[in-house]
Each structure stands twice: as structure tokens, then as C-alpha cells.
Symmetry: C2
Subunit: 531 residues, 2 copies
């Protein structure tokens, strides 16, 4: 069955609508891969005539100072204060690989959380310092106040944009999948831990008793992390500029619209809220033609087609042993392979494998000859694979990557292997399974693709619509419950429950004493009769 929506040109609906008013949008993005999808929003907003200002740190890695799409305000930051660097991430990755390799050891679990908490602490410390630098910089603060923005657009995993929006009393739109408390929905909608797995748990929505217990544990760990590791980094700024009793989470929950980088073709279905807008797959587009050197290579693959491998921006360089294993497995395939590889050329590299320093991933995934995608399991790549219906072999390692693969595996559209524990045999077997058309991986992925593309409005158009909605109406408070402001015992009706228990107990005590009284009276009566 044809996908209906591919027939509708991008921004068709919005293009039919006159742009009545353009807005002034203040963006505080998060660096690294998070910038990739924020950039899509920024460029789309720019194309609709809005003025965009991006707030960035002087040490920023991906977010450039000069761009045709936005003007930037750069906050000076010393390099050692900043974690937005390839070196920091490379060191983090090295530790992660080491921990993953020793995962049999009883200390690996503790080492894992220590490494994760350390990463989060340094990140939030840097952002907390950036917050301080901004709030203490009178020129910048005056500039921000005088600019009269219509809306703040931010990724709240680092909540500086949220803090600024509240300080400037501006409507707030989040571009979000993660928060300092874990998966974003946990701060938005009721999230029964019995079927909603917290991130890092690696559980699906069907959990055994022990997994549900584990899920409670992961939720507790994130609450601990928020309270003792994340929040303290912002306490100073919050107390100074908002007063003593302002909770960071409440500020996040006060957002007007949550643009969720999620789609339920990929995520497990779960409770949501009217102000959540799902834009997962906003990067889905028709492929552009390949550059000539790749075209020739791809065409030479014949009926067998090609396999693409890329481990994303962070994990470009693998250790030599792993590279050799992967090269050997690739060499056994009848397919041709295009591999984004930054290290030395493996000695076992086959004639069928082309090493490249960079590849046009979306265009390759959209090529009709592409048969499989070997990836670290970052969401940008996975949504591109879903968009084009290419089955996935995952080599996940950090953050949400394993959880992402769990989601695709639950739908029978992917397989995942432990990248720190690879051997040629099992990798070859997994590749052959994914490439085997008698197995359901390809068909399942293509079904996901059909479901994903069949929607009344494209995710990017929908996201832009709701940002503009917030600009037009100065917020979207009618879509936001204020229940997050209730005391927790009222929210959970604990006072009502206690009252009802009290009533029931009083009732039973009264019955008890009445019975006792009547019993005594009868006994007394009998006694006096006997006497």
C-alpha cells in the first residue's frame, strides 16, 4: 500500500497559510548530536521569516557563531569549565567501553553509575557556570530583556534556557527527549513504573517482576541524581534570582509546549499530555542523489545491494581489535559495504568494503540498494533508518543507545550486539540474519516505515505550527495542567485516603465499643438475674 503522505509536499499546509506575524525566537540549544535536530527547527523557523537568536558558549563545539539562519550571542567561558569538547567525550567513551567490557564484575554496576554521574555532574556544572556568567553579565541580560522575544525554544536536558524563559517571563517551548530526571514524560504525565521503562534500564514495556523492581530502582537513581547532582549546580542562580523555594523541575513543567523527539512507531505507547507534540522523525526526507564516487560503488553492488556502517559523531574511531573483527565480518558478505571509519585501515579489510571519513547517511539509507544499517543506535540515525525502512544491526554503547535498540528489537526490526565483546562469527551471523529476506527484519522495518510516514501532518510542520501557535497566542496554557503545582500528598489524594481510613477506623472502633457495651450490659443483666 502506498504511503499517502509522501505525495504531500513538505510544509504544504503551512505554505497555504499566510504568515501573519513573524516572531523573535530565543534559542538555547544543547551541543553535540542534540544540535542536529535543533538546527532543523532553527532552519525551518528561519525559512518562515522568524528572527532567531541563538545563545551559545564561546567553547561551543557544534553551534557556530556565524550562521545565515540566526544571530548568536556568545557567552565567554573558560575552556576548562566546558565539557563541550571531543576530548571530554572521548575520555568518557573510553571509560564506558572499559566498564562494559568488565560487565561480569560485581563492581561494573557501581562503576557504570559513577561514570554516568560524573559525566552529568561535569556537564551540569559547566551549564550552571554558564548560567552564572549570563546572569552576572549586565550587558547580555539587558540585551536579552530589550530584545522582547516572543518565545524561548530550548532543549531542557541542560535547563539554562528554561531558567532564562522564566526570568524573562517568556512563553517556553521545549525540544526534548531527556531531562535531568530521565525520560521527559516522567515530568509531564503519569508514568506507571509497571509498564513504562525508565531510560538506562534496557527494559521493554513488558516487564517481569524483577524487571519492574529494577525499574523502580532506576527511577530512584534518577531522582537521587536530580536532587544531589544536578539541582545543586543551579541552586545558586535560582536562589539569587527567583527566591528560596523555586524548584527547577517545576520551571520545566511550566513549559507551554513539549516538542517530543519521539514517535510511537519507535517508542512504547504510554500516557501523554495535551501539550505534548510528537515530532520524532522530523529529519525524514526524500534522499538526494549520491556523490559520483559513491554512486559508482553502490551501483557495482548488483542485486546484493549495500550495507552502511556509521557509529555517529562520537564513536568514529574504534579500537584496532574491534575494527579488525568488523572488517573481517564485512569481508565475508556478498554485499558491498560503506563504512565511516576514522582510524587506521584494518588489515583484514575486504575488497567489498569502502572506508570513508564522512558519508551522506540519510541519502545512503534512502538508496534503493541499501539492505542494512550498522549503527551505534543514536536516535537521529535510527529515525532515518525507520524513514527509509532499512533494518538495523546495533552496536550500542552509551546513554540511551541500548534502550533505543531494545525498542527496535521489540518490533522485530533490528538486532543488537555488544560492541565490547564482538567476534567475527557472531557478527557475521547477525549480519546475515538482518540481510536474510526469509527473516522478518526487513519486512518489519518496512512496516514501521509505512506507519511512520502515514500521518496527517509531517512532524516538522507540526512542530513549527506549535511554535508559531505559542508566538500567536503568547503561550498555550489551556493545554497545560497545573497539577504539578499541587502538594504531592494532594496530587495523590493521600489526605482523602487518610480521612477515609480514619472514618473507617472510627466506625469500627464505635461498633467495637458498642458491642462491648451491649455485651457487658447483657452479662450484667444475666448476673443480676442469677443473683
Amino acid at each position: 500500500m502506498a504511503s499517502y503522505l509522501t505525495a504531500v509536499p513538505v510544509l504544504l499546509l503551512l505554505a497555504a497559510v499566510p504568515i501573519c506575524e513573524t516572531g523573535r525566537v530565543l534559542v538555547f540549544p544543547v551541543d553535540g548530536s542534540h544540535w542536529l535536530n535543533m538546527q532543523i527547527l532553527v532552519e525551518a523557523l528561519h525559512s518562515r521569516g522568524h528572527n532567531i537568536t541563538v545563545l551559545r558558549s564561546s567553547t561551543s563545539w557544534y553551534v557556530k557563531e556565524h550562521s545565515p539562519f540566526y544571530t548568536s550571542i556568545t557567552i565567554q567561558q573558560r575552556h576548562h569549565e566546558s565539557i563541550e569538547s571531543q576530548e571530554f567525550m572521548t575520555a568518557f567513551l573510553k571509560r564506558s567501553i572499559e566498564i562494559q567490557r568488565n560487565k561480569g564484575s560485581p563492581f561494573a554496576f557501581i562503576a557504570f553509575f559513577k561514570n554516568f554521574f560524573n559525566c552529568m555532574e561535569l556537564n551540569h556544572m559547566a551549564i550552571g557556570n554558564l548560567a552564572n556568567n549570563i546572569f552576572e553579565n549586565k550587558t547580555v541580560m539587558q540585551q536579552l530583556q530589550e530584545a522582547q522575544y516572543d518565545v524561548v525554544l530550548t532543549d531542557p536536558i541542560f535547563p539554562l534556557g528554561v531558567i532564562l524563559a522564566h526570568y524573562l517571563k517568556l512563553p517556553l517551548v521545549l525540544n526534548v527527549r531527556w531531562l535531568p530526571i530521565g525520560e521527559a514524560h516522567f515530568a509531564l504525565a503519569p508514568s506507571p513504573l509497571s509498564y513504562i521503562p525508565q531510560v538506562l534500564s534496557h527494559y521493554s514495556d513488558k516487564m517481569s517482576f524483577w524487571q519492574r523492581l529494577g525499574n523502580v530502582f532506576y527511577q530512584t537513581v534518577f531522582s537521587y541524581m536530580y536532587k544531589f547532582i544536578v539541582y545543586p549546580q543551579y541552586r545558586g542562580v535560582l536562589e539569587r534570582y527567583f527566591g528560596p523555594d523555586v524548584d527547577l523541575l517545576t520551571l520545566i513543567q511550566g513549559a507551554d509546549i513539549w516538542l517530543m523527539r519521539m514517535d510511537f512507531v519507535f517508542e512504547f505507547p504510554r500516557p501523554t499530555m495535551p501539550n505534548a507534540v510528537y515530532m520524532g522523525g522530523l529529519q525524514c526526507r526524500n534522499p538526494n542523489p549520491l556523490p559520483p564516487e559513491l554512486t559508482d560503488f553502490v551501483q557495482s553492488s548488483g542485486e546484493h545491494g549495500i550495507v552502511i556502517m556509521s557509529l555517529g559523531t562520537l564513536l568514529g574511531e574504534l579500537d584496532p581489535e574491534t575494527s579488525e573483527i568488523i572488517a573481517s565480518a564485512f569481508a565475508r558478505l556478498p554485499q558491498k559495504v560503506i563504512w565511516r571509519h576514522l582510524g587506521d585501515q584494518p588489515s583484514t579489510l575486504g575488497n567489498n568494503t569502502l572506508l570513508v571519513k564522512w558519508l551522506p547517511q540519510a541519502d545512503l539509507l534512502g538508496h534503493p540498494k541499501t539492505r542494512a544499517f550498522v549503527t551505534h543506535g543514536g536516535t537521529n540515525g535510527l529515525y532515518e533508518a525507520i524513514c527509509h525502512g532499512v533494518p538495523v544491526l546495533g552496536l550500542p554503547l552509551i546513554f540511551d543507545q541500548i534502550d533505543n535498540m531494545v525498542r527496535l528489537e521489540a518490533r522485530g526490526a533490528a538486532k543488537a550486539l555488544d560492541v565490547t565483546n564482538l567476534d567475527v562469527e557472531s557478527l557475521t551471523q547477525a549480519l546475515n540474519d538482518i540481510l536474510d529476506n526469509t527473516q522478518p527484519y526487513r519486512e518489519n522495518m518496512q512496516r514501521l516505515s509505512r506507519l511512520h510516514r502515514d500521518r496527517p501532518i509531517k512532524p516538522l510542520d507540526n512542530a513549527i505550527f506549535w511554535i508559531e501557535f505559542v508566538i500567536r497566542h503568547k503561550g498555550a496554557s489551556h493545554l497545560r495542567t497545573e497539577s504539578y503545582r499541587m502538594p504531592w500528598y494532594e496530587y495523590h489524594n493521600l489526605d482523602v485516603i487518610m480521612f477515609l481510613l480514619g472514618c473507617a477506623m472510627t466506625f469500627f472502633v464505635l461498633i467495637w465499643f458498642s458491642c462491648k457495651f451491649v455485651w457487658r450490659a447483657i452479662k450484667k443483666n444475666q448476673k443480676s438475674k442469677l443473683e
Copy 2:
């Protein structure tokens, strides 16, 4: 600010999409005002080329046997078995008015629920009998099985369509606001009773302690009603055709898509689910020109404009005393009034008031001279008022009408009076308030109207898209959580909580005995030293 979406023609998006496949849709509608919105869906589906079969009772009141939009299957039913009649509803209304009038009395509360339960029992008994008649009619069952429908579309307040869909193993789309357990979301998404008012409670989303207690009570009443009044009417059919352990609620929860007759401009924001599609206001359209006799009357109103009054399909005829009071209050207004009135002409009728047996409500509400709408508070009329930004004076009486008015009053766009306790002074005062431009009613309603109309896709187009989505993909199970199949103690993680409490208790008991042991050892030691 202009509403963007008024510029986009209806079904623009879908019109741009080729109809790849037309489907066969089996509709089981609910009679009365519920048919009005189902009819809109049926006509839109017909205009898109789908084949529609409507299953109806021979005693049906609104759902005609012959229509250009559908073919019908009529199930013979004896009239005394049916409640789908004006007489039944008139009797119910009379009792409701009597109860409402005596609401000071301590028995009124009990009488209210007795009357409501009685109405529900007779309704569900009739539908239960209809279910029996269908399942025992081999010709009809064969016809239904051989027709190979693609989807069942039904209003599940009377769950016969749901039962049929499961029996025929067909995908299921609900057109829904109410269920036998109260407001529909209570069966779909987590619904904290601390801020989500159950229907009939007349509470808003900001509740005092006593209201939260009351809300728990109303929730309990609906659970009782479902279990002891509604479910027994279907038990026979369910046990015979599905086996002993099939719960009706679980069948409803297995629906693919919930087309909710709700919009959060009107409803309080609350948790929802990915398979809920909000189509509240699907009747919103540009007004047609008025018939000539009304045009002259409306034009003659000059700058003061007009007031529209209609109490809906059920409450056409008021008792003479109330009619006199309303006529007197209208006579005092500088506006002209168009009043849909079925009884005798009141003696106090002013020259400014035109009585009509029927009025083109949507077209009158869309007329620029319309200043206020006096209504019983049914949702069809209220969404038309929101669509055209006309402030409302409500005279609610039964079912959800008071709750509906609570929602509009919470937004400052309406006032409500007790129709059983009217006097000329207070009615005149309320009308003057609503009509007074220095008061915020009109401005608030127009703000709601702007928010309501400003959306990426029209509610009707969205509803049709999702019905066709279910036809194309044979369901939408990826949007539906299966958590409703979990045992309740697992869903609420009670086994995990008990396990953790058990561990904690074991821990403390061990500590206690260890301390005791050590303490005894020390004491023994001291004693032996002293000796």
C-alpha cells in the same frame, strides 16, 4: 489576530491525497443527540468514497432506515423494549426537573441517582436485548460476517458495536465522550482523582479537600453502576459468545483509535494516550445565509444585535411558569430574541421576541449580529458557540450539561442558572451581564474561539484521517498500550511495593534481633564481671 485555519478549506489536506483504497465501514451509532456528530463522520466518510453500513433498531428515533449516505441493517425490536423514544426522555426529564426543584431535601441526592441509574438500566437493558436479537439472528450474523468490513465505528456508551467488532475480529474506532464508567478517559489513561473531575460531580480541575473526597465518591458510584447495573445487561451475550471471563471494559480498551468528542479549549487538560484523537468541534463551519424571514428580523435588531435561545432536542417544551419568566426577562432586553419554543405562547412575550419551532442554530450563532446564546448546555451547541465566539447563558439540567457549563464558566465565557429555580430579576441580571461588553464574557469566548480554530488540521479531517489509517493498516495497535490487560496489582506495582516493604521489615527485624543479641551479650558480660 486572524485565525490562520479559516483560510484553509475543509479537507484541503486530505483532498490533496489520492484515495488509494475505499473501505467498508460498519457503524453502530447511538440515537438522539449522539447521532448528530456520528452523522457528520458518516457523511464525510461517504464523500471520501467509503461504503457505510449502519446497524439500527427498528424503533430508532433519529437514525433513518433510508439515507443517501449509508445502507442500513434494521434489527426488529418490540417498542416496549426500546428507550429510544421522545416519551421515555420526556418522562425522565420531568422526574429530573422535580428532583432538581427539591434539591434542598435530603432525599434529593438519592432520588437523583435512582433516576439516573433507572435511565441507564433501561437503556442498557434495551441495548442488551438488541445484542441478543442480533446474535440470535443467523441471517444478520451471516450478512455481517460475509460483508468483510474493514473497521467498526461506534459510540461505546452503548457497547454493542464494541462487542460486534471483537466477535467479527475487526479493527475498532470509537466516537466517544462517555462510557458506562463515566468520562471516557477514565478507561484509557491514568486519571488522578485529585484534579480530574468525574462527570456529574460538577467540579472543575481545582478542587478543595471536600470536592476531592466527593470526586472519589462519584468515581465509586460509576464503578458500582458499571458492575451492578450496566454489565449484567450484556453478561448473557458475552458468556455465550466469548466465554466466561470476558470483561466488557477490556473489550472497549482494546479499541484501536478513540475519536474523542473533546477539545482542550473546552475540557480541562488531563493525561491522554497516543491513540486518542481529539475531534471536539468537528461541527465547526462557516455559517450559511439565513432564510429570508429570519434575515429581516435579525437585521431589524440594529446595533443591539440578537439573542438566540434553544434548549436542544430534548427540552423543547418548558413548563408554562418557566416560559413566562423567560419571556418576561427577554421582553426587558434592548436586543431582539429568537427563541426555539414548542409550547403555548407565553402571555408576557415581548415584541422583541420571535418564537420558532426550529432554528438554523449554527448559522444564527455564526451571524455577526448574535450577541448571546441561551442554551441547555449540550456539547453540540456549546462547540458551535465556541466556534463562533458567542458567550453563553446556560440553563443546564441533566447528564453532562451542568459539568459542561462548569467548564465554560471556569474560562469566564459563560454563566449558568438553575432552570428549575428561575426568577425574572436574576435571569435579566444574568442576561445583561453576558451582553455587557464591559464584562469579560464576550472577550473570553472570542479568545476560546481563536484558540479552537487555530490548529494544524481540522478536527473532522483528523478524524477521517485516523479512520482511514485504521482501514489502511488493519488497526493501530502500535499506538495502544496493552497495560489494561495486566492484573491490577501488577499495574499498580503492588507486588513490588509489598516485596520492598517485606525486605525493609526483614532488615529491621534482623537489626532489632542483632542489637538485642549484642545488648544481652554485653549485659551478660557485665554481670559475669560484677560476679
